[in-house]
Symmetry: C2
DNA sequence: AGGTTAGTTAGGATCATGGCTAACCATTCA
DNA sequence: TGAATGGTTAGCCATGATCCTAACTAACCT
């Protein structure tokens, strides 16, 4: 649940590796190894991205045997959509005030 | 217009100072000085944030006399909304596939 | 002209990010 | 039991982000 900041969320999405992970997990859970496969990168480096996203509340992970399974935290991105929508509304309101 | 990357856009919004600038500009244009006022920060530091956002296509600026006026680039954030929406849809589609 | 205002340029300090290798642990399988 | 697999920890390094001060330029005001 945790109150994850927009800072953390936006920063997490600023990295293409991490967005790719989200794009993959949106289609269902996967183990670290599988997630890492397309990402020409050493496992420890990759794991850091996983940790960033877990810390940011974007994904959740748990150990199953020797694998670590990862899944989306589906509500995590809502604050971002909210903020963007808020800006859009403010902008449009401001447009409509521009009379004569 | 430019094809600004999600990388750049998300990264730009990862900083609270820059989000505050956007929040302010959503209500109408402003000069650098005015934007900087609430941000206990030296002007050169602040200017860098302005440059980051201009480079990212989020705002546009032009000199007017000795001031530099800044305004929103209203379509800049659309790719972000698009990406977020895309993820949401992928997630929901995946949910519905979970039968029996 | 001289001073004030707004911005700009240059250069430096500090810290976080994102990558690596090497070595280790825990689980599974033959 | 021993080897392979999947992950983890530790430590290193290069780069870039974010802040600063000092000094300069360009407009505007009296």
């Amino acid at each position: 649940m945790a109150n994850h900041s927009l800072d953390t969320l936006f920063a997490a999405l600023g990295d293409p590796t991490r967005r790719a992970i989200i794009e993959r997990l949106a289609h269902g859970p996967a183990a670290v190894k599988e997630l890492a496969a397309p990402h020409d990168m050493a496992l420890p480096s990759f794991l850091q991205h996983i940790k960033v996203m877990e810390a940011g509340g974007i994904i959740a992970t748990r150990k199953e045997g020797r694998q670590r399974m990862c899944r989306m935290e589906p509500n995590a991105l809502i604050p971002l959509q909210g903020w963007l929508e808020w800006q859009r509304l403010a902008w449009e309101a401001q447009i409509h005030q521009q009379k004569d």
